[in-house]
Each structure stands twice: as C-alpha cells, then as structure tokens.
Symmetry: C2
Subunit: 197 residues, 2 copies
Amino acid sequence: MNVYGNNIARLIDELNRLPGIGAKSAARLAFHIINMEESRVQALAMAISQAKATVRYCQECCTITDISPCGICSGTKRDNTTIMVVEDSRDLAAYERIKEYRGLYHVLQGAISPMAGITPEHLRIKELLARLTGDVQEVIIATNPNVEGEATAIYLSRLLKDTVRVTRIAHGVPIGGDLEHVDDITLARALEGRREI
Amino acid sequence: MNVYGNNIARLIDELNRLPGIGAKSAARLAFHIINMEESRVQALAMAISQAKATVRYCQECCTITDISPCGICSGTKRDNTTIMVVEDSRDLAAYERIKEYRGLYHVLQGAISPMAGITPEHLRIKELLARLTGDVQEVIIATNPNVEGEATAIYLSRLLKDTVRVTRIAHGVPIGGDLEHVDDITLARALEGRREI
C-alpha cells in the first residue's frame, strides 16, 4: 500500500481493521475521507475520540450510553412496572424506534452460549435481579430468536418466574413477504402460537 | 438515535455520512469502535487527521501521496521511458500490486464524461503533456474499460500520437471463470483482439 505514502497507507490499514471493511472498501473510504472538507474530517476524528472517551454503561439498565443513568432510566414518562430484557443496546434502540413500548429496559450485554464460553455469570443478570423490587410487575424477554437467545430466555424465565410475571416476545411469520420464503421452524412456531381472531 | 447518548449518536451519524455505510453498519461500527482498546481508537482518529493534513498530489504524476514527488516518481529503479496513464490512484495501486510494470504513471484524476460535465480541462492532461520530453517513448493508456474511460483513451490517443507511441491495455475475456458469463461487448472485443498462438 506504500504507493500512497505512509499516512494514507496507515489510514487504509486502520480502516481495514474495522469489521466488515475489506482492503478495497478501506481504500475507497480512505480516499473519500482525504477528499472531504477539513472540518468534516475533524468532526469524524473527534467523534471517534469523544465517543470512546465518554462511553459507559448505565448504572441501572446496563445499556451503552454517555450519561448514567441513561435517558430512558432517568426519564419521568416511562412505565417503571415493566422491564424488557434485551441482549444489547442495538436491540433496545430497535424497540425504541417503533415508539410502542413505554417501559424500561435491561441490557444483558450478550446471551448464554456454552460454545463461546458465555455463561450466565458473564451477563448483567445480577444487575437485573437487583432491579426487581416493589414496582416491577412484568419482565418481557426480548432476547434474539436464535439458539443463544432462546437458551437465555429459558434460563431467565426459570430464574425469575417465582418473583415476577415473565413473558417472551411472540415468534411467528414476519409481516410482509411470502409464507413460501419463511423457514420451517418459524412456520412451526407461528402455528403453535396461533390465536383466535 | 439519542437512546445511545449524544456522543455515540454523533459517532454513528459521522460514520453514516461515509459512502456505502448505512445506518445499521454505522451503528455496528460505532459499537465496535467504542469497544476497541483506547490505543487503537486513538490510532484510528489520528490516522484520519494525519492523512487529511498531509495529503497532496505528486508534482510529477499527480497521484495522491503525502510526499512529492511520490515514491514512484522519485524511485531510481523505474523505467522513465514509459508512462502509464490511469484515471485514479487506486488504478495505479492495482497495477503496482501485480509487480509487472516498471515504468512511471500519470494519474488523470478522472475521465472525460460529458454527462457529468467533466471535460479534458478538468483532467491532469496539461501535466501529462509537460512530461512528454526527451525520455518518454511510450504512453500506455490504462483508463477504465467503460464509456468514459474509452472516450478519454481516444481523446488522449489523438492528442499524443504525433508526439509519442500511444498504446491501450488489451480488452478481452478475463482469466478464470466462464465464457458463458462474459458480457457480449467483451466477447466481441476479445474476438476482435485475437492473436496468433
């Protein structure tokens, strides 16, 4: 890469270390960056440094944030009788996006995966238990619909169901698209979870 | 995006402005970055600032570099009787990668495109003419094999052919893969360009 000079080569190399950015994308991005306006380049470099410098986990829900407690936990308009348990902060963001859920969240920071050596002790479960005081009436488990997410859901359900009502988000066929393209397990779960209309 | 706090939201936003990085990739990259080691984050931010601060164009071949003349133009082992004309610095890098070409380059910084309003005056053609002094015996035109690249090749060939030998890289079927999947124009050009074996 030294045909570009050391500083550009170094930028390509640093970008290439990021996930999902191969050698060609890294070069393309590097050329884009060095052609951007100076102020935009500084904004990007600064955003990287600052986000890293100020990142922390919310003392309540364990989401990634730069203020603790986070905006949701410190919000006065949230329903504090319900906690939705998700694997990571992006799942929380996905549910926030639909603007239908007004309760609180709890971010486990992962899912149980014996294959990857992730046991319940690696997750923010202690912190969840500490929050199940007087007000909380329901814990909605919204871990991912895959093996690890299901294992985590079952584990949590057994752990919590004597203390509080535990529910799981529904599995079924996604809205839009074609039954024909839905995988077999989802079809089976959709049938199993059928409801009166 | 404010569920993540302002600094993380700002980082996601800055990443999202880069080409080919949508909202989801930007969030994924941002989370990766804030989970990287501090030293790696600083290396990335620094690489961005430094590459931008030191970038320039080589005074000879007009490639993007941080030293001028660039490593190739100032190299003592290059054949200075041949100049390969490419559209941009990444094309130069592609030819350097194969380690077969030992001549010099000239980077046009684009190709003629009446649709996009790019005329010969927008390209580094004056700088190319200035280099066609005593030593140069051949100019190899390696602009892209598309409409703009071909138009540029024809323009340059007419402009230069009284001064110097002008050649064009061969068009034909790429090595590997299947004739069946090669487009019609390439098949026609490959036939047209056939050689004795």
